[in-house]
Symmetry: C2
Subunit: 261 residues, 2 copies
DNA sequence: CTCGCCCACTCGTCTAGATACCTAAAGGAG
DNA sequence: CTCCTTTAGGTATCTAGACGAGTGGGCGAG
Protein backbone atom coordinates (compact mmCIF):
# COMPACT_ATOMS: atom_id res chain seq x y z
CA UNK A 1 0.00 0.00 0.00
CA UNK A 2 1.19 3.50 -0.82
CA UNK A 3 1.94 5.39 2.36
CA UNK A 4 0.19 8.67 2.92
CA UNK A 5 3.36 10.66 3.61
CA UNK A 6 4.36 10.21 0.01
CA UNK A 7 1.20 11.98 -1.04
CA UNK A 8 0.54 14.38 1.76
CA UNK A 9 3.43 15.89 3.71
CA UNK A 10 3.39 17.08 7.31
CA UNK A 11 1.82 19.82 9.34
CA UNK A 12 3.69 22.98 10.18
CA UNK A 13 3.15 23.55 13.91
CA UNK A 14 4.77 26.99 13.73
CA UNK A 15 2.33 28.19 11.10
CA UNK A 16 -0.59 30.22 12.36
CA UNK A 17 -2.76 28.70 9.68
CA UNK A 18 -5.31 26.46 11.38
CA UNK A 19 -4.51 22.76 11.29
CA UNK A 20 -7.71 21.85 9.47
CA UNK A 21 -6.87 24.43 6.82
CA UNK A 22 -3.38 23.04 6.40
CA UNK A 23 -4.84 19.59 5.89
CA UNK A 24 -7.41 20.95 3.44
CA UNK A 25 -4.61 22.76 1.59
CA UNK A 26 -2.59 19.59 1.23
CA UNK A 27 -5.56 17.59 0.01
CA UNK A 28 -6.56 20.35 -2.41
CA UNK A 29 -3.09 20.54 -3.80
CA UNK A 30 -2.89 16.78 -4.18
CA UNK A 31 -6.17 16.86 -6.09
CA UNK A 32 -5.07 19.78 -8.28
CA UNK A 33 -1.87 17.97 -9.13
CA UNK A 34 -3.81 14.90 -10.10
CA UNK A 35 -2.48 12.72 -7.30
CA UNK A 36 -6.11 11.96 -6.62
CA UNK A 37 -8.09 11.67 -9.80
CA UNK A 38 -11.74 12.39 -10.55
CA UNK A 39 -14.00 9.95 -8.77
CA UNK A 40 -11.13 8.52 -6.78
CA UNK A 41 -11.44 7.92 -3.05
CA UNK A 42 -9.47 10.11 -0.67
CA UNK A 43 -7.84 8.61 2.43
CA UNK A 44 -10.45 7.79 5.06
CA UNK A 45 -10.94 9.94 8.12
CA UNK A 46 -9.25 7.32 10.27
CA UNK A 47 -6.22 7.19 8.00
CA UNK A 48 -5.82 10.95 8.10
CA UNK A 49 -6.28 11.00 11.88
CA UNK A 50 -3.46 8.50 12.05
CA UNK A 51 -1.26 10.27 9.52
CA UNK A 52 -1.51 13.77 10.97
CA UNK A 53 -1.98 12.83 14.60
CA UNK A 54 -5.06 15.01 15.02
CA UNK A 55 -8.54 14.33 16.21
CA UNK A 56 -11.26 13.14 13.96
CA UNK A 57 -13.25 16.38 14.10
CA UNK A 58 -10.27 18.23 12.71
CA UNK A 59 -10.08 15.94 9.72
CA UNK A 60 -13.81 16.23 9.15
CA UNK A 61 -13.46 19.97 9.29
CA UNK A 62 -10.90 19.80 6.48
CA UNK A 63 -13.25 17.72 4.38
CA UNK A 64 -16.03 20.17 4.95
CA UNK A 65 -13.83 22.97 3.62
CA UNK A 66 -13.20 21.03 0.44
CA UNK A 67 -16.84 20.12 0.19
CA UNK A 68 -17.78 23.78 0.36
CA UNK A 69 -15.44 24.42 -2.53
CA UNK A 70 -17.19 21.74 -4.52
CA UNK A 71 -14.01 19.73 -4.82
CA UNK A 72 -15.07 16.54 -3.05
CA UNK A 73 -18.23 14.82 -1.91
CA UNK A 74 -18.75 12.31 0.87
CA UNK A 75 -20.73 9.12 0.55
CA UNK A 76 -22.02 7.69 3.78
CA UNK A 77 -20.46 4.32 4.51
CA UNK A 78 -18.14 4.45 1.52
CA UNK A 79 -15.72 7.33 1.70
CA UNK A 80 -14.89 10.78 0.44
CA UNK A 81 -14.36 11.12 -3.28
CA UNK A 82 -13.00 13.67 -5.70
CA UNK A 83 -16.09 15.10 -7.34
CA UNK A 84 -16.14 14.24 -11.02
CA UNK A 85 -16.97 17.09 -13.35
CA UNK A 86 -20.13 16.17 -15.19
CA UNK A 87 -20.39 16.80 -18.90
CA UNK A 88 -21.66 20.30 -19.46
CA UNK A 89 -24.49 21.38 -21.63
CA UNK A 90 -23.75 24.39 -23.79
CA UNK A 91 -26.52 26.83 -24.35
CA UNK A 92 -25.83 28.86 -27.45
CA UNK A 93 -27.40 32.23 -27.98
CA UNK A 94 -29.13 31.08 -31.15
CA UNK A 95 -30.96 28.30 -29.33
CA UNK A 96 -34.30 30.01 -29.89
CA UNK A 97 -33.80 30.72 -33.54
CA UNK A 98 -36.82 29.92 -35.68
CA UNK A 99 -34.97 27.33 -37.69
CA UNK A 100 -34.58 25.22 -34.56
CA UNK A 101 -38.23 25.66 -33.78
CA UNK A 102 -39.49 24.46 -37.07
CA UNK A 103 -38.40 20.91 -36.30
CA UNK A 104 -40.61 18.54 -34.43
CA UNK A 105 -39.09 17.77 -31.07
CA UNK A 106 -38.14 20.10 -28.25
CA UNK A 107 -34.74 21.75 -28.31
CA UNK A 108 -33.69 19.95 -25.14
CA UNK A 109 -34.43 16.51 -26.55
CA UNK A 110 -32.83 17.12 -29.93
CA UNK A 111 -29.71 18.58 -28.46
CA UNK A 112 -29.25 15.87 -25.85
CA UNK A 113 -29.76 13.12 -28.40
CA UNK A 114 -27.14 14.73 -30.59
CA UNK A 115 -24.73 14.80 -27.66
CA UNK A 116 -25.34 11.11 -27.07
CA UNK A 117 -27.02 11.45 -23.69
CA UNK A 118 -30.42 10.33 -22.56
CA UNK A 119 -32.80 13.25 -22.03
CA UNK A 120 -35.94 13.23 -19.95
CA UNK A 121 -38.58 15.76 -18.99
CA UNK A 122 -40.31 15.38 -15.72
CA UNK A 123 -42.76 16.64 -13.07
CA UNK A 124 -44.80 18.57 -15.53
CA UNK A 125 -47.35 20.89 -13.99
CA UNK A 126 -49.56 23.26 -15.91
CA UNK A 127 -51.96 25.49 -14.04
CA UNK A 128 -53.36 28.93 -13.68
CA UNK A 129 -52.16 30.88 -10.69
CA UNK A 130 -51.66 34.31 -9.21
CA UNK A 131 -48.63 36.10 -10.62
CA UNK A 132 -45.89 37.01 -8.17
CA UNK A 133 -44.99 40.67 -7.93
CA UNK A 134 -41.87 40.15 -10.02
CA UNK A 135 -43.57 38.13 -12.75
CA UNK A 136 -46.43 40.56 -12.91
CA UNK A 137 -44.04 43.46 -13.43
CA UNK A 138 -42.16 41.66 -16.15
CA UNK A 139 -45.32 40.71 -18.01
CA UNK A 140 -46.77 44.21 -17.73
CA UNK A 141 -49.11 44.13 -14.73
CA UNK A 142 -51.04 40.96 -15.18
CA UNK A 143 -52.80 39.47 -12.18
CA UNK A 144 -53.09 35.82 -13.06
CA UNK A 145 -50.92 33.71 -15.32
CA UNK A 146 -50.62 30.29 -16.81
CA UNK A 147 -47.63 28.56 -15.22
CA UNK A 148 -45.87 25.66 -16.93
CA UNK A 149 -43.37 23.87 -14.68
CA UNK A 150 -41.01 21.15 -15.77
CA UNK A 151 -37.74 19.55 -14.81
CA UNK A 152 -35.10 18.43 -17.26
CA UNK A 153 -32.87 15.42 -16.71
CA UNK A 154 -29.80 14.21 -18.55
CA UNK A 155 -28.91 10.55 -18.15
CA UNK A 156 -31.13 10.44 -15.11
CA UNK A 157 -29.55 13.45 -13.45
CA UNK A 158 -31.74 16.53 -12.95
CA UNK A 159 -29.98 19.53 -14.43
CA UNK A 160 -32.59 22.23 -14.75
CA UNK A 161 -35.92 23.30 -13.36
CA UNK A 162 -37.96 25.80 -15.29
CA UNK A 163 -41.27 27.60 -15.03
CA UNK A 164 -42.84 29.53 -17.87
CA UNK A 165 -45.42 32.18 -17.12
CA UNK A 166 -47.84 33.43 -19.75
CA UNK A 167 -50.65 35.98 -19.57
CA UNK A 168 -54.01 34.23 -19.45
CA UNK A 169 -55.46 36.22 -22.33
CA UNK A 170 -52.83 34.69 -24.55
CA UNK A 171 -52.58 31.15 -23.26
CA UNK A 172 -55.98 30.15 -21.92
CA UNK A 173 -57.77 27.60 -24.01
CA UNK A 174 -54.87 27.10 -26.40
CA UNK A 175 -52.53 24.19 -26.75
CA UNK A 176 -50.12 26.13 -24.55
CA UNK A 177 -52.38 25.23 -21.64
CA UNK A 178 -51.99 21.54 -22.42
CA UNK A 179 -49.25 19.41 -20.85
CA UNK A 180 -47.83 18.78 -24.29
CA UNK A 181 -47.59 22.04 -26.20
CA UNK A 182 -46.89 20.29 -29.50
CA UNK A 183 -43.99 20.44 -31.97
CA UNK A 184 -41.64 23.39 -31.61
CA UNK A 185 -42.83 24.10 -28.09
CA UNK A 186 -44.74 27.11 -26.81
CA UNK A 187 -42.79 29.59 -28.91
CA UNK A 188 -44.08 27.89 -32.05
CA UNK A 189 -47.63 28.06 -30.66
CA UNK A 190 -47.26 31.72 -29.76
CA UNK A 191 -46.27 32.55 -33.30
CA UNK A 192 -49.18 30.55 -34.71
CA UNK A 193 -51.45 32.58 -32.45
CA UNK A 194 -50.19 35.74 -34.09
CA UNK A 195 -47.69 36.77 -31.44
CA UNK A 196 -44.64 37.09 -33.63
CA UNK A 197 -41.54 36.96 -31.51
CA UNK A 198 -39.14 39.83 -31.80
CA UNK A 199 -36.46 39.25 -29.20
CA UNK A 200 -35.66 37.75 -25.82
CA UNK A 201 -34.11 39.32 -22.79
CA UNK A 202 -32.20 37.13 -20.37
CA UNK A 203 -31.10 38.02 -16.87
CA UNK A 204 -28.46 35.85 -15.26
CA UNK A 205 -27.53 35.47 -11.64
CA UNK A 206 -25.51 32.88 -9.76
CA UNK A 207 -26.01 31.95 -6.12
CA UNK A 208 -26.07 29.03 -3.73
CA UNK A 209 -29.18 26.88 -3.99
CA UNK A 210 -32.01 26.89 -1.48
CA UNK A 211 -32.72 23.58 0.29
CA UNK A 212 -35.64 23.03 -2.08
CA UNK A 213 -33.37 23.47 -5.08
CA UNK A 214 -30.81 21.11 -3.57
CA UNK A 215 -33.52 18.47 -3.39
CA UNK A 216 -35.10 19.09 -6.78
CA UNK A 217 -31.80 19.14 -8.63
CA UNK A 218 -30.10 16.61 -6.33
CA UNK A 219 -27.19 19.01 -5.99
CA UNK A 220 -23.95 18.07 -4.31
CA UNK A 221 -22.79 20.56 -1.73
CA UNK A 222 -20.53 23.21 -3.15
CA UNK A 223 -22.45 23.43 -6.42
CA UNK A 224 -24.07 26.81 -7.11
CA UNK A 225 -27.05 27.38 -9.35
CA UNK A 226 -27.43 29.65 -12.33
CA UNK A 227 -30.68 31.53 -12.17
CA UNK A 228 -31.86 32.67 -15.57
CA UNK A 229 -34.94 34.76 -16.20
CA UNK A 230 -35.94 35.11 -19.82
CA UNK A 231 -38.61 37.42 -21.12
CA UNK A 232 -39.95 36.97 -24.64
CA UNK A 233 -41.23 40.04 -26.49
CA UNK A 234 -43.41 40.08 -29.57
CA UNK A 235 -43.05 42.50 -32.45
CA UNK A 236 -45.44 44.90 -30.77
CA UNK A 237 -43.13 45.15 -27.79
CA UNK A 238 -45.37 43.19 -25.49
CA UNK A 239 -43.90 40.67 -23.05
CA UNK A 240 -45.62 37.41 -23.92
CA UNK A 241 -43.74 34.98 -21.71
CA UNK A 242 -41.40 34.93 -18.76
CA UNK A 243 -39.37 31.79 -18.17
CA UNK A 244 -37.71 31.35 -14.79
CA UNK A 245 -34.97 28.72 -14.89
CA UNK A 246 -32.71 27.32 -12.21
CA UNK A 247 -29.80 25.28 -13.49
CA UNK A 248 -27.17 23.17 -11.78
CA UNK A 249 -24.15 25.36 -12.42
CA UNK A 250 -21.78 22.43 -12.91
CA UNK A 251 -23.85 21.17 -15.81
CA UNK A 252 -23.94 24.32 -17.91
CA UNK A 253 -21.96 26.76 -19.94
CA UNK A 254 -23.97 29.63 -21.35
CA UNK A 255 -22.78 31.21 -24.53
CA UNK A 256 -23.85 34.53 -26.04
CA UNK A 257 -23.04 36.52 -29.12
CA UNK A 258 -23.02 40.29 -28.82
CA UNK A 259 -22.87 42.67 -31.73
CA UNK A 260 -20.04 45.21 -31.51
CA UNK A 261 -22.14 48.02 -32.88
CA UNK B 1 -35.34 41.09 26.24
CA UNK B 2 -37.28 39.10 23.67
CA UNK B 3 -37.12 35.43 24.50
CA UNK B 4 -35.85 33.08 21.83
CA UNK B 5 -38.83 30.70 21.99
CA UNK B 6 -40.98 33.41 20.50
CA UNK B 7 -38.73 33.44 17.48
CA UNK B 8 -37.46 29.94 17.22
CA UNK B 9 -39.67 27.06 18.36
CA UNK B 10 -38.50 23.68 19.67
CA UNK B 11 -36.75 20.61 18.38
CA UNK B 12 -38.64 17.52 17.32
CA UNK B 13 -36.87 14.58 18.96
CA UNK B 14 -38.95 12.07 16.99
CA UNK B 15 -37.86 13.53 13.68
CA UNK B 16 -35.05 11.74 11.95
CA UNK B 17 -33.80 15.04 10.65
CA UNK B 18 -30.49 15.80 12.34
CA UNK B 19 -30.67 18.27 15.20
CA UNK B 20 -28.26 20.72 13.59
CA UNK B 21 -30.40 20.68 10.45
CA UNK B 22 -33.54 21.38 12.45
CA UNK B 23 -31.84 24.33 14.07
CA UNK B 24 -30.59 25.56 10.70
CA UNK B 25 -34.11 25.16 9.30
CA UNK B 26 -35.59 27.28 12.05
CA UNK B 27 -33.00 29.99 11.67
CA UNK B 28 -33.39 29.98 7.89
CA UNK B 29 -37.12 30.27 8.18
CA UNK B 30 -36.85 33.09 10.68
CA UNK B 31 -34.54 34.91 8.28
CA UNK B 32 -36.82 34.27 5.30
CA UNK B 33 -39.77 35.58 7.22
CA UNK B 34 -37.89 38.71 8.11
CA UNK B 35 -37.75 38.00 11.83
CA UNK B 36 -34.06 38.63 11.47
CA UNK B 37 -33.35 41.38 9.02
CA UNK B 38 -30.40 42.04 6.74
CA UNK B 39 -27.30 42.84 8.73
CA UNK B 40 -28.98 41.94 11.98
CA UNK B 41 -27.25 39.77 14.57
CA UNK B 42 -28.51 36.25 15.16
CA UNK B 43 -28.63 34.81 18.67
CA UNK B 44 -25.16 33.94 19.90
CA UNK B 45 -23.93 30.38 20.03
CA UNK B 46 -24.28 30.38 23.82
CA UNK B 47 -27.89 31.57 23.63
CA UNK B 48 -28.80 28.84 21.16
CA UNK B 49 -27.01 26.21 23.25
CA UNK B 50 -29.15 27.34 26.16
CA UNK B 51 -32.36 27.54 24.16
CA UNK B 52 -32.15 24.16 22.46
CA UNK B 53 -30.25 22.31 25.16
CA UNK B 54 -27.60 21.02 22.75
CA UNK B 55 -23.85 21.24 22.71
CA UNK B 56 -22.02 24.13 21.18
CA UNK B 57 -20.61 22.12 18.28
CA UNK B 58 -24.13 21.30 17.20
CA UNK B 59 -25.06 24.96 17.08
CA UNK B 60 -21.89 25.78 15.19
CA UNK B 61 -22.74 23.06 12.72
CA UNK B 62 -26.08 24.76 12.08
CA UNK B 63 -24.36 28.04 11.46
CA UNK B 64 -21.97 26.42 9.05
CA UNK B 65 -24.91 25.10 7.05
CA UNK B 66 -26.36 28.59 6.74
CA UNK B 67 -22.96 29.99 5.94
CA UNK B 68 -22.59 27.50 3.10
CA UNK B 69 -25.91 28.73 1.74
CA UNK B 70 -24.61 32.26 1.79
CA UNK B 71 -27.32 33.34 4.21
CA UNK B 72 -25.20 34.45 7.15
CA UNK B 73 -21.64 35.33 7.95
CA UNK B 74 -19.77 35.22 11.24
CA UNK B 75 -17.60 37.99 12.62
CA UNK B 76 -15.02 36.95 15.16
CA UNK B 77 -15.71 38.54 18.51
CA UNK B 78 -18.96 40.11 17.38
CA UNK B 79 -21.52 37.56 16.34
CA UNK B 80 -23.25 35.92 13.41
CA UNK B 81 -25.14 38.23 11.10
CA UNK B 82 -27.66 37.94 8.31
CA UNK B 83 -25.62 38.62 5.21
CA UNK B 84 -26.79 41.82 3.57
CA UNK B 85 -27.29 41.64 -0.16
CA UNK B 86 -24.91 44.11 -1.75
CA UNK B 87 -26.12 46.35 -4.53
CA UNK B 88 -25.72 44.54 -7.82
CA UNK B 89 -24.09 45.80 -10.93
CA UNK B 90 -26.08 45.14 -14.07
CA UNK B 91 -24.14 44.32 -17.17
CA UNK B 92 -26.26 45.01 -20.20
CA UNK B 93 -25.58 43.33 -23.50
CA UNK B 94 -24.99 46.66 -25.22
CA UNK B 95 -22.20 47.56 -22.83
CA UNK B 96 -19.63 47.33 -25.60
CA UNK B 97 -21.54 49.36 -28.12
CA UNK B 98 -19.46 51.93 -29.95
CA UNK B 99 -21.49 54.82 -28.63
CA UNK B 100 -20.33 53.99 -25.10
CA UNK B 101 -16.79 53.72 -26.30
CA UNK B 102 -16.64 57.10 -27.89
CA UNK B 103 -16.78 58.81 -24.50
CA UNK B 104 -13.67 59.47 -22.50
CA UNK B 105 -13.69 57.37 -19.39
CA UNK B 106 -13.89 53.61 -19.01
CA UNK B 107 -17.29 51.97 -18.94
CA UNK B 108 -16.78 50.78 -15.39
CA UNK B 109 -16.04 54.27 -14.06
CA UNK B 110 -18.85 55.99 -15.93
CA UNK B 111 -21.41 53.42 -14.92
CA UNK B 112 -20.40 53.36 -11.26
CA UNK B 113 -20.42 57.15 -11.04
CA UNK B 114 -23.90 57.17 -12.50
CA UNK B 115 -25.03 54.65 -9.90
CA UNK B 116 -23.64 56.85 -7.17
CA UNK B 117 -20.92 54.51 -6.02
CA UNK B 118 -17.20 55.04 -5.81
CA UNK B 119 -15.31 53.01 -8.45
CA UNK B 120 -11.66 52.06 -8.34
CA UNK B 121 -9.30 50.08 -10.54
CA UNK B 122 -6.46 48.30 -8.94
CA UNK B 123 -3.46 45.96 -9.13
CA UNK B 124 -2.82 46.70 -12.75
CA UNK B 125 -0.30 44.45 -14.41
CA UNK B 126 0.61 44.56 -18.08
CA UNK B 127 3.12 42.09 -19.42
CA UNK B 128 3.97 39.69 -22.16
CA UNK B 129 3.67 36.03 -21.30
CA UNK B 130 3.21 32.56 -22.66
CA UNK B 131 -0.38 31.84 -23.65
CA UNK B 132 -2.12 29.01 -21.83
CA UNK B 133 -3.47 26.18 -23.93
CA UNK B 134 -6.99 27.52 -23.67
CA UNK B 135 -6.13 31.12 -24.50
CA UNK B 136 -3.96 30.03 -27.38
CA UNK B 137 -6.82 28.04 -28.84
CA UNK B 138 -9.25 30.89 -28.51
CA UNK B 139 -6.89 33.38 -30.13
CA UNK B 140 -6.05 31.03 -32.98
CA UNK B 141 -2.79 29.32 -32.00
CA UNK B 142 -0.68 32.14 -30.73
CA UNK B 143 2.29 31.32 -28.52
CA UNK B 144 2.83 34.49 -26.57
CA UNK B 145 0.37 37.19 -25.64
CA UNK B 146 0.09 40.55 -23.99
CA UNK B 147 -1.76 40.10 -20.70
CA UNK B 148 -3.52 43.02 -19.02
CA UNK B 149 -4.67 42.25 -15.49
CA UNK B 150 -6.79 44.50 -13.30
CA UNK B 151 -9.16 44.39 -10.40
CA UNK B 152 -12.30 46.45 -10.10
CA UNK B 153 -13.64 47.75 -6.80
CA UNK B 154 -16.95 49.40 -5.91
CA UNK B 155 -16.99 51.47 -2.76
CA UNK B 156 -13.83 49.74 -1.67
CA UNK B 157 -15.16 46.26 -2.22
CA UNK B 158 -13.48 44.15 -4.92
CA UNK B 159 -16.13 42.84 -7.28
CA UNK B 160 -14.30 41.64 -10.35
CA UNK B 161 -10.91 40.47 -11.50
CA UNK B 162 -10.17 40.47 -15.19
CA UNK B 163 -7.35 39.58 -17.55
CA UNK B 164 -7.28 40.54 -21.21
CA UNK B 165 -5.09 38.60 -23.60
CA UNK B 166 -4.06 40.01 -26.96
CA UNK B 167 -1.84 38.60 -29.70
CA UNK B 168 1.58 40.27 -29.63
CA UNK B 169 1.50 41.19 -33.30
CA UNK B 170 -1.48 43.38 -32.56
CA UNK B 171 -0.63 44.85 -29.21
CA UNK B 172 3.12 45.14 -28.93
CA UNK B 173 4.40 48.67 -29.04
CA UNK B 174 0.96 50.22 -29.07
CA UNK B 175 -0.84 52.11 -26.34
CA UNK B 176 -2.55 48.81 -25.51
CA UNK B 177 0.73 47.73 -23.97
CA UNK B 178 0.70 50.77 -21.68
CA UNK B 179 -0.86 50.64 -18.22
CA UNK B 180 -3.35 53.29 -19.30
CA UNK B 181 -4.81 52.37 -22.67
CA UNK B 182 -6.40 55.78 -23.14
CA UNK B 183 -9.98 56.96 -23.65
CA UNK B 184 -12.47 54.30 -24.65
CA UNK B 185 -10.19 51.49 -23.50
CA UNK B 186 -8.46 48.86 -25.56
CA UNK B 187 -11.43 48.33 -27.86
CA UNK B 188 -11.15 51.92 -29.02
CA UNK B 189 -7.40 51.42 -29.62
CA UNK B 190 -8.02 48.20 -31.54
CA UNK B 191 -10.37 49.99 -33.90
CA UNK B 192 -7.92 52.81 -34.40
CA UNK B 193 -5.33 50.20 -35.32
CA UNK B 194 -7.62 48.98 -38.07
CA UNK B 195 -9.08 45.99 -36.28
CA UNK B 196 -12.73 46.82 -36.70
CA UNK B 197 -14.75 44.91 -34.18
CA UNK B 198 -17.52 42.76 -35.50
CA UNK B 199 -18.92 40.86 -32.55
CA UNK B 200 -18.15 39.38 -29.15
CA UNK B 201 -18.68 35.89 -27.87
CA UNK B 202 -19.18 35.36 -24.16
CA UNK B 203 -19.04 32.09 -22.27
CA UNK B 204 -20.50 32.02 -18.79
CA UNK B 205 -19.95 29.55 -16.00
CA UNK B 206 -20.68 29.67 -12.29
CA UNK B 207 -18.73 27.80 -9.62
CA UNK B 208 -17.33 28.12 -6.14
CA UNK B 209 -14.21 30.28 -5.92
CA UNK B 210 -10.71 28.94 -5.45
CA UNK B 211 -8.87 30.06 -2.29
CA UNK B 212 -6.98 32.60 -4.41
CA UNK B 213 -10.23 34.06 -5.69
CA UNK B 214 -11.63 34.20 -2.18
CA UNK B 215 -8.65 36.32 -1.20
CA UNK B 216 -8.56 38.55 -4.25
CA UNK B 217 -12.27 39.30 -4.19
CA UNK B 218 -12.57 39.13 -0.39
CA UNK B 219 -15.49 36.77 -0.81
CA UNK B 220 -17.70 35.70 2.07
CA UNK B 221 -18.25 31.96 2.29
CA UNK B 222 -21.26 30.80 0.37
CA UNK B 223 -20.72 33.28 -2.45
CA UNK B 224 -20.04 31.71 -5.86
CA UNK B 225 -18.23 33.38 -8.72
CA UNK B 226 -19.33 34.00 -12.25
CA UNK B 227 -16.61 33.13 -14.70
CA UNK B 228 -16.97 34.95 -17.98
CA UNK B 229 -14.72 34.46 -20.99
CA UNK B 230 -15.22 36.97 -23.77
CA UNK B 231 -13.65 36.74 -27.19
CA UNK B 232 -13.66 39.77 -29.47
CA UNK B 233 -13.69 39.18 -33.23
CA UNK B 234 -12.83 41.70 -35.91
CA UNK B 235 -14.63 42.03 -39.21
CA UNK B 236 -12.24 39.58 -40.80
CA UNK B 237 -13.27 36.93 -38.32
CA UNK B 238 -10.04 37.00 -36.40
CA UNK B 239 -10.07 36.76 -32.61
CA UNK B 240 -8.27 39.89 -31.46
CA UNK B 241 -8.79 39.70 -27.72
CA UNK B 242 -9.81 37.23 -25.03
CA UNK B 243 -10.92 38.63 -21.70
CA UNK B 244 -11.13 36.27 -18.74
CA UNK B 245 -13.23 37.70 -15.92
CA UNK B 246 -14.08 36.38 -12.48
CA UNK B 247 -16.89 38.22 -10.72
CA UNK B 248 -18.32 38.03 -7.23
CA UNK B 249 -21.68 36.48 -8.06
CA UNK B 250 -23.55 38.44 -5.41
CA UNK B 251 -22.51 41.72 -7.02
CA UNK B 252 -23.72 41.07 -10.56
CA UNK B 253 -26.68 40.51 -12.77
CA UNK B 254 -25.84 39.88 -16.39
CA UNK B 255 -28.36 40.84 -18.99
CA UNK B 256 -28.49 39.80 -22.65
CA UNK B 257 -30.69 40.50 -25.60
CA UNK B 258 -31.21 37.69 -28.09
CA UNK B 259 -32.83 38.09 -31.46
CA UNK B 260 -35.75 35.75 -32.08
CA UNK B 261 -34.81 35.14 -35.67
C1' DC C 1 -12.51 64.47 31.39
C1' DT C 2 -9.39 61.19 29.04
C1' DC C 3 -6.64 57.37 28.52
C1' DG C 4 -5.56 52.71 29.25
C1' DC C 5 -6.52 48.40 31.21
C1' DC C 6 -9.47 44.67 32.35
C1' DC C 7 -13.28 41.78 31.77
C1' DA C 8 -17.31 39.82 29.71
C1' DC C 9 -18.96 38.19 25.56
C1' DT C 10 -18.24 36.29 21.17
C1' DC C 11 -16.55 33.21 17.60
C1' DG C 12 -12.34 29.95 16.23
C1' DT C 13 -9.96 25.76 16.92
C1' DC C 14 -9.02 21.36 18.83
C1' DT C 15 -9.50 17.10 21.69
C1' DA C 16 -11.50 12.52 22.98
C1' DG C 17 -14.91 9.75 22.88
C1' DA C 18 -19.88 7.66 22.28
C1' DT C 19 -23.53 6.10 19.37
C1' DA C 20 -25.82 5.51 15.00
C1' DC C 21 -26.11 4.08 10.51
C1' DC C 22 -24.46 2.84 5.77
C1' DT C 23 -21.86 -0.26 2.50
C1' DA C 24 -19.63 -4.16 0.78
C1' DA C 25 -17.80 -8.44 1.19
C1' DA C 26 -17.38 -12.83 3.51
C1' DG C 27 -19.51 -16.76 5.29
C1' DG C 28 -23.20 -19.82 6.74
C1' DA C 29 -28.06 -21.72 6.43
C1' DG C 30 -31.29 -23.50 3.50
C1' DC D 1 -26.88 -21.79 -5.85
C1' DT D 2 -29.49 -18.27 -3.31
C1' DC D 3 -30.41 -15.58 0.50
C1' DC D 4 -29.57 -13.94 5.00
C1' DT D 5 -26.42 -12.71 8.71
C1' DT D 6 -22.30 -11.12 10.35
C1' DT D 7 -18.50 -8.17 10.44
C1' DA D 8 -15.18 -4.73 9.23
C1' DG D 9 -14.54 -0.35 7.80
C1' DG D 10 -16.66 3.93 6.45
C1' DT D 11 -19.14 8.41 7.44
C1' DA D 12 -22.90 11.08 10.37
C1' DT D 13 -24.09 13.08 14.51
C1' DC D 14 -23.58 14.62 19.12
C1' DT D 15 -21.47 15.63 23.71
C1' DA D 16 -18.47 18.12 27.12
C1' DG D 17 -14.87 20.69 27.72
C1' DA D 18 -10.42 23.42 26.99
C1' DC D 19 -7.90 27.09 25.25
C1' DG D 20 -7.20 31.03 21.84
C1' DA D 21 -8.27 35.42 20.17
C1' DG D 22 -11.11 39.53 18.50
C1' DT D 23 -14.41 43.33 20.32
C1' DG D 24 -16.27 46.63 23.03
C1' DG D 25 -17.85 48.57 27.26
C1' DG D 26 -16.89 49.89 32.03
C1' DC D 27 -14.02 51.59 35.36
C1' DG D 28 -10.23 53.40 37.73
C1' DA D 29 -5.94 56.16 37.55
C1' DG D 30 -4.19 60.31 36.31
Amino acid sequence: MTSLPSLLGDLDPTSDRAVFRQIADQLREAIDRGRFKEGEKLPSEAELVEHYGVSRMTVRNSFSVLQGEGLVHAEHGKGVFVRPRPPVRRLASDRFARRHREQGKSAFIVEADAAGSHPQVDSLEVKEEKASQDISTRLGSVRRVLARRRRYLLDGRPVEFATSYLPLDIARGTQIAEPNPGPGGIYARLEELGHHLDHFEEEIRARMPSPTEVKTLRLASGVPVIHLIRTAYDTEGRAVEVCDTVMAADAYVLSYQLPAT
